[in-house]
Symmetry: C2
Subunit: 190 residues, 2 copies
């Protein structure tokens, strides 16, 4: 029963920073230790394994998305409105932790014990997403195209936000979400 380790959190934050640059596999415990200003062995006073760090970064983010989607799909809203909320969800989570999103996107396959759990969350998320699009097509809100192509197109953009948000600090989350929704939903054709 402690105050839940600030030192452990610092290690995880530093690791997140390093993982986004070179990926999980290319970052060594000695790299991480150097970045923390200590020796590699000392890291093990705070964490149990390298693997545990990756899990801490990825799983909490994945669960945050699942939770957000669960809330959105229960709402009594139009499909288009739900899509806008999904865009806002991604912008929000990514703004708070863009480097962690790099690991989520690129290093999930190096999860060992939690790989199946992660894949389950992801599949469920994509199913919920495509379901909202199908509803929108049925209700005549959304143009009648392949719903998987639509989801893929939107989700690819949202998943890449982590690459882009850190470069654009002038724009705030709300404005970006609105701008992005506009482009993704209404297109760019005049």
């Amino acid at each position: 029963m402690n105050t839940e380790g600030t030192r452990r959190d610092e290690i995880i934050n530093t690791a997140t920073e390093l993982f986004k640059d070179k990926g999980y596999s290319a970052v060594t415990m000695r790299d991480l230790a150097t970045a923390m200003g200590m020796k590699a062995a000392s890291l093990y006073n705070h964490i149990n394994s390298k693997q545990e760090i990756l899990k801490a970064i990825i799983i909490s983010l994945a669960e945050e998305f699942t939770q957000g989607m669960d809330a959105i799909k229960k709402l009594d809203q139009t499909a288009i409105e739900k899509l806008k909320l999904i865009v806002a969800l991604h912008v929000d989570i990514t703004t708070k932790n863009p480097h962690g999103m790099a690991s989520l996107n690129n290093d999930w396959m190096h999860l060992e014990g939690q790989l199946d759990y992660y894949l389950g969350l992801r599949e469920r998320y994509e199913q919920d997403f495509v379901e909202i699009i199908r509803d929108g097509i049925s209700s005549n809100e959304i143009v009648d195209t392949n719903p998987e192509v639509v989801m893929f197109s939107i989700l690819s953009t949202l998943r890449s936000l982590y690459l882009w948000i850190p470069k654009k600090e002038e724009i705030n989350a709300k404005a970006l979400a609105q701008n992005l929704s506009e482009v993704l939903i209404n297109g760019i054709n005049k």
Copy 2:
């Protein structure tokens, strides 16, 4: 002056396959050798280093994109028409080598000697891309939004195609490019 090594090509193709699953850093020369049905040392009869394999995968793809963009930007066409050609370019290259596209997207930072060259090509590509969008806004073809947001949105989708194309064999390249252009340009709002 030989027939330019089919065996070397097989190694590179096999490596491409392995890299897309686990990334460059997590694939060992012994993994690659096992997948080729030989011992690690034997690989060096055909290639000079692990690094050289990565370079062979990534640089040729990057140059193909540069070449495609150079051709498109010289054309006397509307901006929207040029965007459709860019979509087709990505669908085309990705369909021919989806696994290589995984390395291009995820392992470029592990290029050593050619990193600067690669980054130069990428920057030029993105500049050409955003220039086409700016032209489209000036000529009143494209809605007046932040051109970087537009480029980012489209390019993210195109760069993620490699994840998606291998799962959708029923759809052909031409139909996919058309479908995607429709969604990206005209949006999904009815």
